[in-house]
Symmetry: C2
Subunit: 277 residues, 2 copies
């Protein structure tokens, strides 16, 4: 069988089957593989995908928190998404991913909560205008500085705060700004946006110019855009900005903003990240 349209790697990774409402099965894909498991952003996107496909969903994503409880291994997994409370204009979800452990019994690898909401026309304002940066075409695509397959799924054009070229403990700011989009290009949706909120390499690598082991423990994404605005953003670039606030006792936080090329904030995001040494 041949197909005129090959499936986008993101859609392949987000493919979920469901026979019982709220229960899904999926599997990791090589396209988003990181060093010892899938890219955290793809796991976040997959959890959100379950909510998007749930027949009882009210409104659109407002908030997503994902806790990476344990390594997700290569292969199939099950995902549970439950709307625990539905109000007039908001809906609260709890989610988990389970995978067969060493003894075959299912273990929790990931937990999450999602809030979906009906957006309304209201007064609005931004307190974080997009910084003045060169256009995407003026920024060179990133060199692939470490070997993780998922990096090839994104076009990244750094503006500032690139991965250090020398791991010499020289110390830097923890701020990165980069233009990004799916590779190949794909119209933006909530799942793609959730994944991109986790695209930034660990701030500790930049801050210390030292590549210590690090991994996200928990990430939260707040969506400030509705589906219409995401559709309007289409295959355009997003400007992402991330910085750390505090590094201490093996954990640091990261605060991030994502604008579209028109300068509109689509999402704000935060994470707490483990690091060694």
């Amino acid at each position: 069988m041949t197909s005129h349209h090959s499936i986008h790697p993101l859609d392949e990774a987000l493919a979920l089957a469901s026979e019982t409402t709220g229960q899904y099965t999926g599997r990791t894909t090589p396209g988003y593989w990181n060093m010892v498991g899938p890219f955290g952003g793809i796991t976040a996107a997959t959890l959100l995908q379950a909510v998007m496909q749930h027949p009882a969903r009210l409104g659109e994503p407002l908030s997503l928190t994902v806790n990476y409880a344990g390594a997700l291994g290569e292969g199939p997994f099950t995902l549970q998404a439950t709307p625990v409370r539905t109000n007039r204009s908001t809906q609260h979800w709890t989610l988990s991913i389970l995978q067969a452990g060493a003894d075959g019994a299912p273990v929790v690898t990931t937990t999450a909560t999602v809030v979906t909401a009906v957006r309304r026309e209201t007064w609005g304002a931004t307190d974080t205008p997009m910084p003045a940066v060169p256009a995407p075409a003026q920024c060179k695509p990133v060199r692939l500085a470490f070997r993780s397959e998922w990096l090839r799924r994104y076009e990244m054009r750094p503006v500032t705060g690139e991965l250090p070229t020398q791991w010499d403990d020289s110390g830097h700011t923890s701020m990165t700004q980069l233009w990004m989009r799916d590779a190949p290009a794909r119209p933006l949706d909530f799942c793609a946006l959730a994944a991109m909120a986790d695209i930034f390499f660990p701030r500790v690598w930049l801050r210390r110019a030292r590549q210590v082991p690090a991994g996200t423990v928990s990430i939260t994404v707040y969506f400030h855009a509705g589906g219409d605005l995401l559709a309007q953003t289409g295959t355009g670039y997003l400007l992402g900005q991330a910085r750390a606030q505090e590094f201490r006792n093996g954990f640091f936080d990261q605060t991030a903003l994502l604008w579209n090329e028109a300068g509109i904030v689509l999402a704000t995001s935060h994470q707490i990240v483990y690091y060694k040494e």
Copy 2:
């Protein structure tokens, strides 16, 4: 019966009974009453208290996310705290609060996730030094601008970004800085810190100089301090700083930092807040 030591209102609010591991009963207290339910910070603190009291707890709080799914009414509630995954140095928790609904059947009012972790000595750095502000004694205690009992449970000494005196749509920055501590003074612990992360009045009131209905939908707190540092902070003041990043379609986000008087970041926090009009 007389007592030489009256119980602190915070400890009264945090009192939980448990006969079955992980299942708790508590009740709202008048001391932290807000307009139509308890102060959101006290609900966050109560959830964390359940984790602190759980016999299977590993380490100390690292991350807390609370989703306010529905109004918590005056009276008793039940709280469930489950450690769903315990690793070598981190532990992942899911929590919920239930209360009898109109028909007597229990309904979910609040969901939460917590990560606890064992802190280790590592390299550290701050990228958010405490701003230069006058000492607490030089800042006047806040006037009680709206009538909520919980406001009396905190000593608040604003530095900048006070509640507007005129609701005249004049527009302001969304940034508030204030010194704060429990009233009466109480040695700082994780629960008290979690509550104080939610102390800031809705940013939309400041940004618009307009007091529209508003309420937190979801809050996340990252703890950067261990119990030793909190004990060392004792009854000293914390400097809190909060600002919004984006207001759109009925929701805005708030990003906050809390330092102790020695200038050490104890917590960073984020929330997404509903607002009307």
